[in-house]
Subunit: 139 residues, 3 copies
């Protein structure tokens, strides 16, 4: 069994944004030389997500609007977590809805994707450096 590990660094200038990281994750797969296996991609932070969906700007606008309706950032005082001096309680909750990670199959050296699958980093508390972990195991 082979394994490969890589970190992808991001620094999102806005509080909330969706970044297509498919190309970066594919680079890691190429470097790994693994042809059959599984690839885990997860946020190493607890106020952001990694997920798979469509690369369409209108949809990302819908994601943002819907998440903000479900879990409003303000008023900050509605969340006990913000009593600690933080202002990101909503980001922790948005991450719970969109999830932490994806696991992707590797077949014949490539990601075994359907036609529209793209990997995104969902940032809900940006304006600082963050890391995404790629871990690949297989042969």
């Amino acid at each position: 069994m082979k394994s490969y590990r890589k970190e992808i660094w991001v620094n999102v200038p806005k509080r909330l944004a969706f970044i297509n990281i498919t190309k970066n994750v594919k680079e890691a797969l190429l470097e790994s030389k693994i042809r059959e296996g599984l690839c885990l991609v997860n946020s190493m932070h607890i106020s952001s997500s990694v997920f798979i969906n469509d690369d369409e700007q209108g949809l990302h606008h819908d994601f943002e609007k819907w998440l903000e309706t479900m879990v409003p950032h303000e008023p900050l005082e509605q969340y006990r977590h913000n009593d600690t001096g933080e202002d990101n309680a909503d980001a922790h909750l948005k991450r719970q809805i969109f999830g932490r990670e994806v696991v992707v199959a590797i077949t014949e050296g490539e990601f075994d994707f359907g036609p529209w699958e793209q990997i995104f980093y969902g940032e809900f508390d940006g304006r600082r450096k963050k890391r995404i972990l790629v871990k690949i195991i297989g042969e």
Copy 2:
């Protein structure tokens, strides 16, 4: 390390439905001859989910009603994604809540399930052919 790959095809006649695919995934495990490992089951589409819950019709009714309250299909104009000519923005969002995939442990040649765990395909934009990927790695 061994690996095995199989596609399960579905064509759901309704826009939204939950299909029990446990039997199909167990067939793939049997074919794989893998006795210890991990099994990834994911939708290859971005408007549907694979998840594990209870095979109870009343609950599936509750799932549908709740998802429709959280992310209504109509009016279509409330979603920017639908400006592209699509009518499935809600399906992309419902999929975000229910998730893309499950990873299941394999122990002594069987899925290492609790007593009530069943694998479902959650379709949120049906009436067309779609694919589910099963990827198994192990020994």
Copy 3:
């Protein structure tokens, strides 16, 4: 390839609570002697979740309050699943939002975590014994 399996038992005295199981899962990793691989941690029940977030009591209060707003436990009659004699339809739905499982990378014999990542069991229908599965594969 090596594999290791362990069950963690919990009995939460309240209906809804969040339990930090990071220490228990780390014990399983130590016992496995696996140094590179993937670790699956999942609830073996369908009315509870395993997820990764922050170990902060205020945030857990926010989680509980938000989940209860999204999916109220009462009135019981609003859910068809409860017509079967159960009272836990809301727990099945809360589990859908928070998810079933996490997959964690293992690098050099340790969980490859960001600085704040902690593994939690989210119980939504407690006051009974339940099991969490840890399955580790790798080398």
